[in-house]
C-alpha cells in the first residue's frame, strides 16, 4: 500500500467512526440545527435582529395621531401593539415592550389651534433609548410641524390682508388640513429604499432571521467539531497508540496526513448536511453560488482543521485540550459575528471580526446568501481563510510530536 492509500484508509476510518457516534451526531448536527431554528425564528425581523416590541398609546384617535400609528406599523423591525396611553405605559413598566409612544388626548385639536404639542417616546431604562423608534416618530412629527407652519403662515397672511383676527382659527385649521394633503398619497419628497444585491430581480427577497443563524451556527459548530476531533490526537499520543502506529510500516506523513484528512472529511460531511438542511428545510439561499460556497467551505475547513492540529501540537493532555477547545472556538465565534449580525456591534468589535477565521467565513457566506454574490465575490474571504489555514498548518505540523 502506498502512503497515500494508507492515509486515505486512516481518513475514511475516522469518518466511519464519527458517523456511527451518537455523541458526534448530537454535537455536529442536532445542536447547530436546534440553535439555528431557535435563534432564527426568535429574531425573524430585519436580518436576524430582534423585532422590537413597541406599544403605541393613542388616546387621541384622530387622523393626525393615526399617522404615527400607521407609520410605526409599516416598519418591519418593529412589532407594534396599538393601545391606550395608560396601557402602553403599563406595558413599558412591565417590560413587555422596549419603548412606548404616547399621544395624549387633544393632540389633533392643539395642532389645529396652532398650539405646540408633544409626543413622548418612552424607553425601557434597562434597554436604553431606541433610536429607530425615535427617528420614525420624529419623521411623522416633522410632517405635522410643517403642516402647522403652513397653517400658521396662511393665518398670519390672512389676518394681515383682512385685518380680521377672528377669521384666523378656522382658516388655520383648514390650511393645516390642506397642507397635510400634500403628503398623501405621495409626499413632496419620497425616500425609497432599494436593497442592492447581485440577485436577479425575481430572486430578490426580504432577509430572514435564518439567513443569519443558519450560516452563523454552521460556522461555529463546524469549527468546534473540527478542533475537537483534531484534538483527539492528543488522546492517541497520551495512550501511545500514535507511537504504536509508527512501529507498523507506515510513515509519519501518512499517519498525520490521514488523521488530518479524516478531520477535514468529517467537517465537510457535517457542513454539507447543515447547508443542505438550511437550503431545503429552512429556506436559506445557500445555493446561490455553488462554486463560491465550495471555495469558502473548503478554505474554512482548512482553517478549522489547521487550528485543531495546532492545538493538538501545543497541548499535552486530554484535559488541557478539553479546556482549550471551547476557549479557542466559542470566543472567536462571538467576535466573528456568528451569534448576532455583526452590524449591531460597535466599530471596534467589527474590526476585530477580521482577526478571526469565523469573521471572514461569515462575511463570505452572507455575501452569497444575502447579497447574492457569485464566486468572484467571495474570493477575498476564501483567500483569507486559506491564509489562516496555511499559517495554522505550518505551525501545527512543525510543532507536532508523535510521542
Amino acid at each position: 500500500m502506498s502512503a497515500v492509500h494508507k492515509a486515505a484508509a486512516i481518513a475514511l476510518l475516522s469518518l466511519a467512526i464519527t458517523i456511527r457516534d451518537r455523541g458526534a451526531l448530537l454535537w455536529r448536527l442536532v445542536m447547530p440545527l436546534v440553535m439555528t431554528v431557535l435563534v432564527g425564528s426568535a429574531f425573524g425581523g430585519a436580518a436576524g435582529a430582534a423585532r422590537l416590541p413597541v406599544a403605541v398609546g393613542d388616546d387621541d384617535d384622530s387622523s393626525y395621531s393615526r399617522l404615527f400609528v400607521d407609520r410605526l406599523r409599516t416598519e418591519r423591525a418593529i412589532q407594534l401593539v396599538e393601545t391606550t396611553v395608560t396601557d402602553a405605559q403599563a406595558r413599558l413598566d412591565r417590560r413587555r415592550v422596549a419603548a412606548a409612544v404616547l399621544i395624549p388626548k387633544g393632540f389633533a385639536s392643539r395642532i389645529n389651534m396652532g398650539k405646540d404639542t408633544d409626543v413622548s417616546v418612552r424607553f425601557d431604562p434597562r434597554r436604553g433609548p431606541q433610536t429607530l423608534v425615535t427617528e420614525i416618530v420624529r419623521e411623522t412629527a416633522m410632517r405635522l410641524s410643517i403642516d402647522s407652519i403652513a397653517g400658521e403662515f396662511a393665518a398670519a397672511l390672512a389676518v394681515r390682508q383682512s385685518a380680521d383676527p377672528s377669521m384666523a382659527p378656522g382658516l388655520r385649521r383648514r390650511a393645516i388640513e390642506r397642507a397635510d394633503g400634500h403628503w398623501s398619497p405621495t409626499p413632496p419628497i419620497t425616500v425609497t429604499a432599494e436593497p442592492v444585491t447581485a440577485f436577479a430581480a425575481d430572486r430578490r427577497r426580504l432577509p430572514t432571521g435564518m439567513e443569519q443563524s443558519s450560516p452563523g451556527f454552521a460556522v461555529m459548530f463546524v469549527m468546534m467539531a473540527a478542533v475537537f476531533s483534531a484534538a483527539a490526537l492528543v488522546v492517541e499520543r497520551q495512550n501511545g497508540t500514535l507511537a504504536r502506529l509508527l512501529t507498523t510500516p507506515t510513515s509519519r506523513a501518512a499517519i498525520l496526513g490521514g488523521k488530518i484528512a479524516g478531520v477535514y472529511l468529517q467537517g465537510l460531511v457535517q457542513m454539507a448536511i447543515l447547508v443542505g438542511v438550511g437550503q431545503a428545510v429552512l429556506d436559506v439561499n445557500w445555493g446561490q453560488s455553488p462554486v463560491g460556497l465550495a471555495l469558502l467551505v473548503g478554505a474554512y475547513l482548512l482553517a478549522a482543521t489547521g487550528l485543531g492540529i495546532m492545538l493538538a501540537a501545543v497541548v499535552r493532555t486530554e484535559a488541557q485540550a478539553a479546556t482549550l477547545v471551547p476557549v479557542v472556538t466559542i470566543i472567536p465565534a462571538m467576535l466573528g459575528g456568528t451569534f448576532w449580525p455583526i452590524e449591531v456591534a460597535p466599530s471596534y468589535m467589527r474590526a476585530l471580526a477580521y482577526a478571526v477565521p469565523q469573521g471572514w467565513a461569515m462575511t463570505g457566506f452572507v455575501n452569497i446568501i444575502t447579497r447574492g454574490f457569485g464566486w468572484q465575490g467571495v474570493l477575498p474571504q476564501a483567500a483569507a481563510l486559506a491564509g489562516f489555514g496555511a499559517a495554522f498548518f505550518l505551525a501545527g505540523i512543525w510543532l507536532f510530536r508523535f510521542e
Binding site: V119, V191, E194
Partner: protein
C-alpha cells in the same frame, strides 16, 4: 446531615478547587465572555451605537441649488453629522458597488431634476440604496433622510398652502397672490423653524439603564453555574465506573451519607463558582450586584436548582462521557430560551412565555431584581420559590435514578 456527609463534601470540594482545568472553564471562560458581550452590547443598549456614525455615500445627479443646499447645509448639520458619516461619489454605479459590498450602509441618490421639482412643487423622490445585510442601520438612515428631506420641502409647502388657502377662502385673488409670492418667500422664514410637534424622549419608570456588561455578568454566571454543577456531578459517574463508589459502600457509610455528601459538594461548587464570579465581576468590571444579603439567598437558591439539574443529567447518563455530551445539549438551548444569551426583555412574546420553563429565566429574574436595587425578600420570593421547587424535583428524580454500580 452527618459528619461523614460533610467530610465527603469537603473532600470533593477540595479536589475540585485544585483542578486548574475547572478554573479555566468555570471562571475564566465566563469572565472572557462577559467582557466581550459587554463590549458588543453596551453601546447598542445605551443607544450610543448609532451615534457611532453610520457611513453613507451621496451621489448628486441633480447639481441644482436645492440638492446643494440639502447636502451642504442639511446633511452636514450638527445633529445629522452625529448620526451619519457622509462622503460623495460621482456616479450612482460607484455608490451601488460600495453599498453592495457592504462598505457603506446606504447610498443616497439625488436624481436629475430634483431641485426643479422641489421648487415647482412637483412630487419627487430620492433613492436610497441599502445593504440588506445591514438592514437595521439602513432603516435608521432611511428615517433620518426622510425627515431631513421634508425640511427642504417645508418652505415650498408653506407658501403653496398659504396661496391655495387664501385664494379658496377668497381673502385674496389669484392675481394678488401671484404678485405677493416673492415677498412671501421671504416672510415665510420667520415661521419656518417652528416645531409644533416636539418629541419628548424620556426614560420610563424604574431603575436606571444598566450597561450590557451587568446583564451578561448575571446571564453568563447563571449559564456557567450549570456547566459547573454538571462537571461536578459527572464526578459521581467517574467514581462509579472506577468502583470507588461501590468500595465506599463496603465501609460503614450509608448510601444517604454518600449521596448527601456528593450533592452537598455539587451545591457548594456552584455556590463558590457563582460567588467568585460576583466578586470578580465587581472587582474587574465594576458590576454592582446589589444587596449582599439577598444576593446570598439568590446564589443559594440558584446553586441548589443547578445542583438538582446537574444530578438529574448525571443520573440519566450512562457514562461520564455521555453526561459530558448531554450536559451542553441541555444547557445551551435552555440558556438561550432563558435569556442567558439574548436579553429576555428583547424577546418576542412566545419566547418570553417559553422562557418560564427554564432554570435560567428565574435565576435571571431574581438577580436582575436585586441589581435593580431590591432590598426586600418579597422582590425575589417568586424566583427563589420556583428555583427551590425545580431543584427539589430534579434532585428527587436524580437521586432516585442514580445507581452506585
Amino acid at each position: 446531615m452527618t459528619d461523614k456527609t460533610l467530610v465527603i463534601a469537603l473532600k470533593d470540594l477540595s479536589i475540585r478547587t485544585r483542578d486548574r482545568r475547572s478554573a479555566v472553564i468555570l471562571l475564566a471562560m465566563p469572565m472572557a465572555l462577559i467582557f466581550i458581550l459587554g463590549l458588543v452590547f453596551t453601546p447598542l443598549w445605551s443607544g450610543t451605537a448609532e451615534i457611532q456614525r453610520i457611513p453613507i455615500v451621496v451621489v448628486d445627479q441633480d447639481r441644482g441649488e436645492i440638492a446643494r443646499l440639502f447636502i451642504e447645509q442639511i446633511l452636514a448639520t450638527g445633529e445629522i453629522g452625529r448620526l451619519l458619516r457622509i462622503d460623495r461619489a460621482g456616479e450612482a454605479s460607484a455608490a451601488r458597488t460600495l453599498v453592495m459590498r457592504g462598505r457603506r450602509v446606504a447610498g443616497l441618490i439625488i436624481p436629475e431634476g430634483f431641485s426643479q421639482a422641489v421648487m415647482t412643487g412637483r412630487p419627487t423622490r430620492l433613492t436610497l440604496y441599502t445593504d440588506p445585510a445591514q438592514s437595521i442601520r439602513a432603516g435608521i438612515v432611511q428615517s433620518i433622510v426622510t425627515r431631513f428631506a421634508a425640511e427642504i420641502a417645508k418652505r415650498q409647502i408653506a407658501v403653496t398652502v398659504a396661496a391655495e388657502t387664501l385664494i379658496v377662502e377668497r381673502v385674496m385673488t389669484p392675481d394678488q397672490v401671484a404678485a405677493a409670492i416673492p415677498d412671501w418667500l421671504r416672510d415665510v422664514e420667520e415661521f419656518i423653524d417652528h416645531q409644533a410637534v416636539a418629541i419628548a424622549e424620556e426614560r420610563g419608570a424604574g431603575p436606571r439603564f444598566a450597561p450590557a456588561i451587568n446583564y451578561y455578568a448575571i446571564a453568563m454566571g447563571v449559564m456557567y453555574i450549570l456547566f459547573g454543577v454538571s462537571i461536578a456531578s459527572q464526578g459521581i459517574l467517574v467514581e462509579r465506573r472506577e468502583g470507588t463508589l461501590a468500595r465506599l459502600r463496603t465501609t460503614p457509610t450509608t448510601a444517604g451519607d454518600i449521596i448527601g455528601g456528593k450533592l452537598l459538594a455539587t451545591f457548594l461548587t456552584g455556590f463558590t463558582q457563582l460567588s467568585l464570579l460576583v466578586v470578580f465581576t465587581r472587582a474587574f468590571y465594576g458590576v454592582r450586584w446589589g444587596s449582599p444579603l439577598l444576593l446570598a439567598v439568590m446564589i443559594s437558591a440558584t446553586a441548589l436548582a443547578a445542583a438538582g439539574l446537574g444530578t438529574l443529567i448525571a443520573a440519566l447518563a450512562r457514562s461520564p462521557e455521555s453526561a459530558e455530551a448531554l450536559a451542553p445539549a441541555v444547557i445551551l438551548p435552555m440558556s438561550f430560551l432563558g435569556g442567558s444569551m439574548w436579553p429576555i426583555y428583547a424577546m418576542p412574546p412566545w419566547l418570553d412565555t417559553a422562557s418560564r420553563l427554564s432554570f435560567n429565566r428565574w435565576a435571571l429574574d431574581g438577580f436582575l431584581a436585586i441589581m435593580d436595587g431590591a432590598t426586600t425578600a418579597a422582590a425575589i420570593a417568586q424566583p427563589v420559590a420556583i428555583l427551590l421547587g425545580m431543584g427539589v424535583v430534579c434532585l428527587a428524580i436524580g437521586t432516585w435514578r442514580l445507581r452506585f454500580q
